[in-house]
Subunit: 450 residues, 2 copies
């Protein structure tokens, strides 16, 4: 009977071990609050100071801190904060008359957001002018915002002058921009995003966690504009989030960011429309991949598995990012290179077409006999062409977030630029305005105005 | 001891069974000749009659026969043989002066190739003209070819008139176009492919079987032209197989397929450049996927596993085709739709630009005072623009074989077409030649000339 006793005991031990493993596995996959996570310290609601959250979440916080010092670049992007205008002086021409023609640096890591907005040449220039910069410019730069929005309301926040609001802002982007204290769940914090989703009949509180791992990025990584005298932060999504939808919205509103000098064109500047561009039927989005899957991949520190908060290009650590799904990382990096090189080459051709077109329109505007109807048509086509180009150009992936959409948009932007040029020549009845390749013939090339 | 005897016997049986299974598995994965396959009948070298090969390979042959009757269509392609000109009358304009403006039907299945070449309106028209059609037109239409090339040599074959050569041709495309009798290995049979590979320093006999599962398709699915008076079948690959490489080759040679009437443009017609387009760094090609993997997927009939020879669009049986690698076939079909819809919409915009441009060039040619230098530049740009468009348009996948390449090429084709239009207007100093959207304003729309 001794044998049977051993067998029975072994059986019981095996069953208990399997059961325990199951329970542990279940708990491991629960968010902190659901597995009865006991925080070391209590975090006040809307707490701006990320270092306090960091006591409870040391791994996330330690990786988040790296966004301060990481300055590695990729072929077309990265975190060094290089100058777009020096890399590609065509943009000095395309943004003439607007601060972006003087100072247009690539974005750095999240922890540098506050410092960079406080020192960017664009705002320094703007603040010295009579028209003072609105507080709206802080909307995506600080974890002080959720508390300030709760206290002041967004309308008041946006109305406050940049210099005045700045006195209450001392934190860069941080935990409170995406997380709810206590539960740590991902939340929409930017009232402009809340309103834009509502306008589309969407309720983010019904979204899955995986959906939220993309939607929280839309707190900032979107196209937006400052509405009305109160500079009210608004996303132009009422008709949808495709570039054509946003153009229709801006046209209806007759909105402009600035007027192109000597060309009379009401221009639009695209911001950083990663969310709209990525969700426009891109292959990764349709496959259910979230922003965080690639930009905040799961990593390990000893026994702990957590989402890295050192947000940066997946190309800088492709094994960590792409390798979560793709077993053939070398192949995948090769794909990114092919796609980005093709998009870049096509983007430069669009810029050449835009430079030719804006030169023609300036020529037609200078001609007192130009046909005003044709000229208006030329200006309208140019406005669309440059905004479409800018959606691809300002978007931070050199097309990779949605390759087909990038190339489709660039093809149409070039088409519209060339049509604008032809309309300008027709308006002035002046075939000399049809010159092509103007940028290439420029010597010296334009430099950023200081 | 009886117990041990049983155990030992059981062990021996298990070892034998595992060994036998291993041997069977090994043999199953060997090509026929290597596993000592004994054919039921001997097939003569270069045997044109596929039904004889079918005795030894009944599964492959039975599926091959289906290419005769399969007539299903997809959104943009398929096997029904529909008219491209009726679906998209812009092409009636783009191919004006060339037989493709009168008769341009989609390709049907392999077994219909001979019948279709013998009855196509293009050749009927051509044969009635004084310039008689060369035998070269049979090059991709019959399994009689390998034997005829061996007997006559390709130069003599191509020189023979179509009507005369046709008396010796009674088989459609078949086994002998891709396989060697006896070994059944995949081989290059078309001397033009052999020569084109040699010109690039490539030796196909060193290729892997997986590489050959793409290269044999290049026996036919390529861009080609008829060289010199002997109409010698030639692939324009000397500089490479990208569209720009082929254009440089044709320009150097000052080759033209026809001259566009009233526009004086030496035009090029793209054929069916699936091989060049797919191998231009497409994602599937770079991932090691062969043409046969998708178009001739492995299927089962009882215990037999074989490559289906019913070559058709993977979209008609996506579970069989895409499902070999992709577990999420519904997602994959959705991707194809997104990509093809975007490429189609962009392609139509390129066609609109081409129609505007050719109209302007005809206007400038009709103007006796037009500047000849500028006109020549306009004509050269147009030649390139239409060939680039045609590489995407004539290629049988509506861009899916290489989406980024399709959209990159179309963007540049539109750019060049618009530049051609501007140069024509400059040449004639006539801004009225800058009209845009001419096709949309046509009423009635063009119909295929009979």
């Amino acid at each position: 009977m001794k044998k049977y006793t051993i067998l029975i005991l072994t059986g019981i031990i095996v069953i208990l071990a399997v059961g325990l493993a199951g329970v542990l596995l279940f708990l491991k996959n629960q968010p902190p609050q659901e597995r009865g996570f006991q925080p070391l310290v209590e975090i006040a609601p809307l707490e701006p100071d990320s270092s306090k959250w960091g006591i409870n979440f040391p791994n996330q916080y330690a990786t988040f801190l790296k966004t301060k010092t990481n300055s590695a670049d990729t072929a077309y992007g990265g975190s060094s904060g290089f100058s777009h205008l020096e890399r590609d002086p065509r943009q000095v021409i395309l943004f003439a008359g607007y601060p972006f023609s003087k100072d247009y640096n690539d974005d750095r890591g999240h922890m540098n957001a506050l410092q960079d907005v406080n020192t960017t040449g664009r705002l320094v220039l703007d603040r010295e002018s009579p028209k003072r910069t609105p507080g709206t410019c802080y909307s995506c730069k600080s974890s002080n915002n959720p508390a300030l929005w709760a206290e002041m309301g967004m309308a008041e926040y946006d109305k406050t002058f940049f210099g005045d609001l700045g006195k209450r802002i001392d934190q860069p982007i941080g935990c409170a921009n995406c997380h709810e204290t206590g539960t740590m769940r991902l939340i929409v914090t930017n009232p402009a995003l809340q309103e834009a989703l509502e306008a589309q009949g969407k309720d983010w509180t019904t979204f899955t966690r995986q959906e939220m791992r993309t939607v929280v990025c839309a707190n900032c990584h979107v196209e937006y504009y400052f509405k009305g005298d109160g500079k009210y932060l608004t996303f132009p999504w009422e008709n949808g989030t495709r570039v054509e939808d946003m153009l229709a919205y801006y046209d209806e509103l007759q909105f402009k960011d600035w007027e192109y000098p000597e060309a009379g064109i009401p221009m639009l500047k695209a911001q950083h429309p990663e969310y709209e561009f990525y969700t426009a039927d891109s292959t990764h989005y349709k496959a259910g991949v979230s922003c965080a899957d690639c930009h905040m991949p799961y990593v390990r520190d000893g026994a702990a598995k957590f989402s890295s908060h050192d947000v940066h290009s997946p190309l800088l650590r492709p094994e960590q990012a792409c390798g979560q799904c793709h077993s053939d990382v070398t192949y995948v990096i090769g794909r990114v290179k092919v796609i980005q090189d093709e998009v870049y080459a096509t983007k430069i051709k669009t810029e050449d077409a835009l430079v030719d077109a804006i030169t023609a329109i300036k020529g037609a505007v200078a001609n007192p006999n130009a046909n005003p109807d044709l000229l208006t048509q030329a200006q309208a086509k140019y406005r669309h062409a440059q905004f479409m180009w800018d959606i691809v150009s300002a978007e931070n992936s050199m097309g990779f977030h949605n390759p087909e959409e990038a190339l489709r948009i660039l093809a149409e932007a070039t088409n519209l630029a060339r049509q604008a040029q032809m309309l300008a020549a027709q308006a002035a009845a002046d075939p000399s305005l049809l010159a092509v390749g103007i940028y290439d013939q420029m010597d010296p090339k334009p430099v950023p105005a200081k």
